[in-house]
C-alpha cells in the first residue's frame, strides 16, 4: 500500500485477513467481527473497552516489530 512505500509502518486491523493479504498489506492483525472489528457488543461496556485496548496495544507492538515479509498476527501470536 502507498503508505508503506512512503516508509510509514501501518497495521491493518481487520476481520477478514485474506483480503488484506491479497491487497499486499504487510502488517495484518486479525480483528474480531466484520460488524464490530474492535469490540464485542455482548460484553459490558467497560469490559469491551478493555478488550479493545488489548487489541490496540497489540497493534502498537506490531508497529515496533521488525518484519521482512507479509505477516498475519493474532492477539496471541502469529498465524
Amino acid at each position: 500500500m502507498g503508505i508503506e512505500k512512503a516508509g510509514i509502518p501501518v497495521v491493518n486491523i481487520t476481520a477478514i485477513t485474506s483480503v488484506s493479504k491479497v491487497v499486499g498489506l504487510s502488517r495484518i492483525l486479525q480483528g474480531l467481527s466484520v460488524s464490530n472489528v474492535l469490540g464485542n457488543e455482548k460484553l459490558a461496556k467497560d469490559k469491551e473497552r478493555s478488550l479493545r485496548k488489548t487489541y490496540v496495544m497489540r497493534a502498537l507492538d506490531i508497529l515496533q516489530e521488525n518484519i521482512d515479509t507479509q505477516q498475519v498476527f493474532t492477539l496471541e501470536g502469529v498465524e
Binding site: K5, A6, L60
Partner: protein
C-alpha cells in the same frame, strides 16, 4: 446506403514522418496534409472507408520530455480537422515513440470521445502505461511486418467506429475481444452472453477436473504482490500515530460525498469533533452498505479506537494521537483509484510527520 467515409488523422514520429533520423528527435509538431510514410500504407488499407486527411508529426524527444503538455499541444493541432478516428504509429519497440503514441491517443480519446488506436511491441514501455486507457494492437518488434500490423489496427479501428451493437456483450459496447482483434488485454471486465448457463459450466468444469482432463478456469488467482514492509517505529513513546479506516465513517451529512460503492474519495476529519472526549459519539453516519452498521453507530470506537488511543496517549504509551482521522469507504472499490488514494493518504501522513498508522477495516 453509402457507408460514411471516415476522417482519419495519423500520428508518426520524425523518422516515419520522413523528417530525419535521431538528429530530428527534438523537432516540434508539424502537420502535413494527407498521408505520409506508413500513412500511405494506412490509406491503401483503408481504401474507400476512410481518408487520411492529415498527418501529425513530432520528434520523439520533444514529445516524451513533456508528455502532458505535448499531448495537449498535439490534440490542439488536430482537433480542428474534426477527425472520426486517430491512428498513431505503430511504434514497434521504440519506447519514446510508444509513450508518445499512447499519450496522444489517450488525450484525443478523452477529449473528443473518438476511437484512438495505436500499435506496439509487447516490451514497449508504452504498453503497460496506456493499455488500460486505449486499445494498443500487438505488433512485431520491428517494422518488418508493418503492413500486417497496420491492417490489424485498421480492422480494430473500423470495429470501434461501427455503430452496430455488439450482441455478444451484455452492455452492447462495440469493443471487440482482445484475442480476436489482436490488442493487449486492458485489464477490464465485461459480461458476455454465452451458450451455457453458469450451472452447466460449473458442473462441466468439476467433471473435467475429476477426470484429470484439462479445463480453463474463468478466473485466475492474483499474482502475489511484492511488498517491502516499512521499518518499525523505534520510539513509540514519542511517536505520533494516525487512525485510518475504510469503514465509511463520515460526519453527519457526508460533506465530502463518499459513495457507498466504488467510492473515489478520502478525507481527514477532526477527531475532537467526530469523537468528543467523554461526551458520547458525535454527529456521524456510515457510508458503507457492505456490513450492518448497528454496532459501530452505537459506539464508533468499535471501528475507530479513539477512546483507547486517548488513554494510551495520556499514559505515555504513544507520543500523540494525530488530531485528524482519515476515512474512506472501501466497498467494491476501483482498484486503480484505491491505489491512488493510498498514495495520497501516504503523502499527507508524511507531510504531517506521522510515524505510524492503524488502519481498521470491516
Amino acid at each position: 446506403m453509402n457507408p460514411k467515409k471516415f476522417r482519419v488523422i495519423h500520428y508518426v514520429n520524425e523518422f516515419f514522418g520522413q523528417e530525419g533520423g535521431e538528429e530530428k528527435a527534438d523537432m516540434q509538431f508539424l502537420v502535413k496534409e494527407g498521408p505520409v510514410g506508413p500513412g500511405l500504407a494506412l490509406q491503401k488499407i483503408l481504401g474507400d472507408r476512410g481518408e487520411v486527411v492529415a498527418t501529425l508529426i513530432c520528434g520523439d524527444n520533444y514529445f516524451a520530455e513533456h508528455i502532458d503538455s505535448a499531448a495537449e499541444e498535439g490534440f490542439n493541432r488536430i482537433s480542428s480537422y474534426a477527425p472520426d478516428i486517430l491512428f498513431a504509429g505503430p511504434a514497434f519497440e521504440a519506447g519514446r515513440y510508444g509513450v508518445s503514441c499512447g499519450a496522444l491517443c489517450k488525450k484525443v480519446h478523452d477529449e473528443l470521445g473518438i476511437p484512438a488506436v495505436t500499435g506496439m511491441y509487447e516490451e514497449n514501455p508504452g504498453v503497460d502505461i496506456y493499455r488500460k486507457d486505449i486499445q494498443i494492437c500487438k505488433t512485431d518488434r520491428s517494422a518488418a511486418k508493418m503492413v500486417q500490423d497496420i491492417t490489424n489496427m485498421v480492422t480494430l479501428g473500423l470495429k470501434l467506429l461501427s455503430d452496430e451493437e455488439d450482441t455478444r456483450l451484455v452492455s452492447g459496447e462495440n469493443i471487440g475481444r482482445p484475442s480476436e482483434y489482436g490488442y493487449f488485454p486492458r485489464g477490464i471486465v465485461r459480461n458476455e452472453f454465452v451458450e451455457k448457463t453458469t450451472a452447466e459450466r460449473l458442473v462441466d468444469m468439476l467433471v473435467a477436473k475429476l477426470k484429470g482432463e484439462p479445463f480453463v478456469s474463468e478466473a485466475q488467482m492474483p499474482e502475489p504482490v511484492d511488498i517491502t514492509p516499512a521499518s518499525p517505529i523505534k520510539e513509540m513513546g514519542s511517536a505520533e500515530i494516525a487512525l485510518i479506516s475504510d469503514g465509511g465513517l463520515v460526519p453527519k451529512g457526508n460533506p465530502d460525498g463518499f459513495k457507498m460503492r466504488a467510492n473515489l474519495v478520502w478525507a481527514g476529519y477532526d477527531v475532537e469533533k467526530l469523537f468528543p472526549d467523554g461526551a458520547g459519539p458525535g454527529e456521524f453516519e456510515i457510508m458503507h452498505p457492505g456490513y450492518y452498521t448497528v454496532h459501530v453507530l452505537d459506539d464508533p470506537s468499535r471501528l475507530v479506537p479513539v477512546d483507547v488511543m486517548r488513554d494510551l496517549e495520556r499514559e505515555g504509551v504513544i507520543g500523540r494521537l494525530h488530531p485528524l482521522f482519515y476515512s474512506t469507504t472501501g466497498n467494491a472499490g476501483i482498484h486503480k483509484r484505491c491505489q491512488e488514494m493510498g498514495q495520497e493518504i501516504a503523502e499527507e501522513l508524511k507531510e504531517k510527520g506521522i510515524q505510524g498508522a492503524l488502519l481498521t477495516s470491516t
